[in-house]
C-alpha cells in the first residue's frame, strides 16, 4: 500500500512536473551549446531580459510597501470591514491574467477612456513599459500581503506594546521590533512576488503589444520565438526562466526549512 501510493505520487509528479522541466532544458540544448548561447545572446533576448528585470525591480518594491502597510493595518488593528478588505486584496488572484491586462487597456488604450487625452499629451501607457508595469503590479498585488497578514496576526501586538511602554516611537517600534519579527516572512513573500512578476505572461501579453526590443519581456519573447518556429532560441530563453523558478523553489524550501517557525503562519 505504502509503496504503491509513493510510486503513484512519484509517477504523477514525474509526468507533470519533472518531464516539462527536462523538456525545457533538453530542447534548449537540442542543437548544442552553441545554438543555445546564440539564442540568449540575441539583442532582442537581451533586451527582454533587461525589461523583465526592470519590471520586477519596480513592481516588487511597490507591492512590498503595500504588503507591509496592508498587513500592519489588518493584523495589528481591529476595524470594521476587515474581512471585506481581506477579500478585496485577494481579488487579483481570482481574476484571469488576461482580464488583468484588459482593464488597463480599457483605461489607457487608444480606445480607452483616457486614451485620447493621453495621446494628446504624448503619453503612452498601453503598448509601452508603463502598461507592462501596471499589469504586473496588478497580478502580483496580493503576494506579500498574503504572506505577512497571517504571520503578523499570529504574532499579536504584545511586542509592539512592550516597545511603546518602554518609550519607543511608532517608527522605532516598527523598525526595531516589528520588522525584525517579520523579516523572513517578508523575504518569503518577496520571493514569490518576484517569481510571478518575472514570469507573468497573460496580463503582460495583453498590454505590451509585443514590440521587440521595446516591450517584450522574457515570457513574451519565448512566445514570439516559439511561434516563429525558432524552438532552440525559445527554449533557451525558457530555460533561463525555468532556472529562475528552480532557484526560487530552492530559496523557498531553504527558508521554510531554516525559519519554519518564523514563516509558519504564512504557510498555514
Amino acid at each position: 500500500m505504502r509503496l504503491a501510493l509513493i510510486g503513484l505520487a512519484i509517477l504523477f509528479l514525474a509526468a507533470f512536473l519533472a518531464l516539462p522541466l527536462v523538456a525545457v532544458f533538453s530542447q534548449a540544448l537540442a542543437k548544442g551549446v552553441g545554438a543555445f548561447l546564440k539564442g540568449l545572446a540575441d539583442p532582442d533576448a537581451l533586451s527582454a531580459i533587461r525589461l523583465t528585470l526592470t519590471i520586477a525591480a519596480i513592481a516588487v518594491p511597490l507591492n512590498l510597501v503595500f504588503g507591509v502597510a496592508a498587513s500592519w493595518a489588518i493584523a495589528k488593528f481591529n476595524f470594521r470591514g476587515k474581512s471585506l478588505l481581506l477579500a478585496l486584496i485577494d481579488l487579483p488572484f481570482s481574476v484571469s491574467p488576461v482580464i488583468s491586462g484588459l482593464v488597463y487597456v480599457l483605461l489607457f488604450g487608444l480606445h480607452g477612456s483616457f486614451g485620447p487625452w493621453l495621446r494628446d499629451h504624448g503619453v503612452q501607457i498601453i503598448f509601452a513599459v508603463p502598461g507592462v508595469v501596471m499589469a504586473t503590479v496588478f497580478v502580483t498585488f496580493p503576494f506579500v500581503a498574503r504572506e505577512l497578514i497571517p504571520l503578523m496576526q499570529e504574532q499579536g501586538v504584545e511586542d509592539e506594546e512592550a516597545a511603546i511602554v518602554l518609550g519607543a516611537s511608532g517608527w522605532q517600534t516598527f523598525r526595531l521590533v516589528t520588522l525584525p519579527n517579520i523579516r523572513w516572512g517578508l523575504l518569503y513573500g518577496v520571493l514569490l512576488c518576484n517569481a510571478r512578476a518575472m514570469g507573468e505572461f497573460g496580463a503582460v501579453s495583453v498590454v505590451s503589444g509585443h514590440i521587440r526590443g521595446k516591450t517584450n519581456t522574457m515570457p513574451l519573447h519565448v512566445e514570439i520565438l516559439y511561434n516563429e518556429y525558432n524552438f532552440v532560441a525559445a527554449f533557451a530563453v525558457a530555460s533561463l526562466l525555468a532556472l529562475l523558478a528552480l532557484v526560487t523553489l530552492a530559496a523557498k524550501a531553504a527558508l521554510e526549512w531554516r525559519f519554519a517557525d518564523q514563516i509558519a503562519a504564512a504557510k498555514r
Binding site: I6, A9, F12, A87, L88, V95, V103, V105, G202
Partner: protein, 291 residues
C-alpha cells in the same frame, strides 16, 4: 452606563458604532489610507471601470455577445476543462499530499519543494514545455499517436495544462489538514474493526473533505482564467479548443473592445460567484473544525 457618565471621560466615549477599536499602536491612518488608496488605484477602479464599460454596451448586446455560439462554446471548454482538471487533481493531489505527510522516503524534501513548481514556473514556459511533450512528435504525444489519439491541440491538452497549473492548490490545501490529523484516530477506527477502506471513507475523508473542496475550488478558479500554459497546447480551434481568455485576446486584437469587455465581465461575474463560494467553503471548513 448613562450618557452623563461619559462627561468625565478621559477620551470621548465611543459607544455604539466605532470604526476602529481603541488602540495605542500608531500608524493605522497612514497604513490603512495607503492600503485603501493603492487597492483602489491598482485593482478596484480598473475593475470597476471595466464593469461600467460593459454596462455601456447595453443589456441586449451584452447577451447577444455572451450567448453567441462561439463564445458559449469557449465558456464550455474553459469551465469544463477546468473542472475536469480540478477533479483529476483532487485524486492525485490527495495522493501526493498523503504521501508527503505520512511517509518518509529518500527525496521527499525535493519532491515537496517541487510541488510548487507550477507556482514558480512562468506559464509560457510551462505551455511550450507541455506542448513539446504532448505534441504528436513529442515524447508522450508520439506514444499517443501510435495508440491512435491526439493529446495536444485538443481539449485533452487543455486539461493536461490545467492539471499542471492546479496541482499545488490541492496539495497545499490538503497538506495542513492531513498534518493535523491524529494517526490515533485511524488506529482507533482500526481497533474498532473498521477495514482500511472503511477507515478512509468514514473517518479520513469527512475530515479532509472541506479542505479538499476548497483546494478543488481554488484550482478550478485558477484553471478557468488560465492563459499562458494553455494557448500553446490548445491549438485554439474555434468551437473545439478555444478558451475564454483567448477569445478575449482575439477580440482585443480585432479592436473589438466591447466584445472583449463583455466576455471578460461575464467571466469575472462567474469568477466572483466562485470566490464567494470559496469563502463560504472556508468558513464552513473552519466552523466544522473549530477547536
Amino acid at each position: 452606563m448613562t450618557a452623563a457618565a461619559s462627561t468625565t471621560a478621559t477620551k470621548p466615549a465611543r459607544r455604539g458604532w466605532a470604526f476602529l477599536a481603541p488602540t495605542i499602536l500608531p500608524g493605522f491612518g497612514t497604513a490603512f489610507g495607503f492600503t485603501l488608496a493603492y487597492l483602489c488605484l491598482i485593482v478596484l477602479i480598473p475593475l470597476g471601470h471595466m464593469a461600467l464599460r460593459a454596462a455601456d454596451v447595453g443589456w441586449d448586446r451584452f447577451w447577444a455577445i455572451t450567448l453567441a455560439p462561439r463564445v458559449l462554446h469557449a465558456f464550455y471548454v474553459s469551465f469544463g476543462c477546468a473542472l475536469a482538471a480540478a477533479l483529476i487533481n483532487a485524486v492525485f493531489g490527495l495522493v501526493v499530499a498523503w504521501v508527503l505527510v505520512r511517509y518518509r522516503f529518500p527525496g521527499r524534501r525535493i519532491i515537496d519543494a517541487m510541488v510548487d513548481l507550477p507556482f514558480a514556473l512562468p506559464t509560457s514556459v510551462a505551455g511550450i514545455a507541455l506542448t513539446a511533450i504532448y505534441a504528436p512528435n513529442g515524447w508522450i504525444g508520439a506514444l499517443a499517436k501510435a495508440a491512435g489519439f491526439k493529446i495536444a491541440f485538443t481539449p485533452l491538452g487543455i486539461v493536461i495544462a490545467l492539471v499542471f497549473v492546479g496541482m499545488p492548490f490541492i496539495v497545499r490545501t490538503v497538506e495542513p489538514v492531513l498534518q493535523d490529523l491524529d494517526a490515533e484516530v485511524e488506529e482507533a477506527a482500526a481497533s474498532l474493526g473498521a477495514t482500511r477502506w472503511q477507515t478512509f471513507t468514514k473517518v479520513l475523508l469527512p475530515t479532509i473533505l472541506p479542505a479538499l473542496i476548497t483546494g478543488v475550488a481554488l484550482a478550478f478558479a485558477r484553471g478557468v482564467g488560465e492563459y499562458g500554459s494553455v494557448i500553446f497546447i490548445a491549438g485554439n480551434i474555434p468551437a473545439v479548443s478555444e478558451i475564454v481568455p483567448l477569445l478575449i485576446v482575439a477580440r482585443l486584437e480585432q479592436y473589438d473592445y466591447a466584445g472583449a469587455t463583455v466576455i471578460a465581465t461575464a467571466m469575472m461575474g462567474v469568477s466572483f460567484l466562485m470566490l464567494l463560494g470559496i469563502n463560504f467553503l472556508q468558513r464552513w471548513t473552519r466552523s466544522r473544525h473549530a477547536r
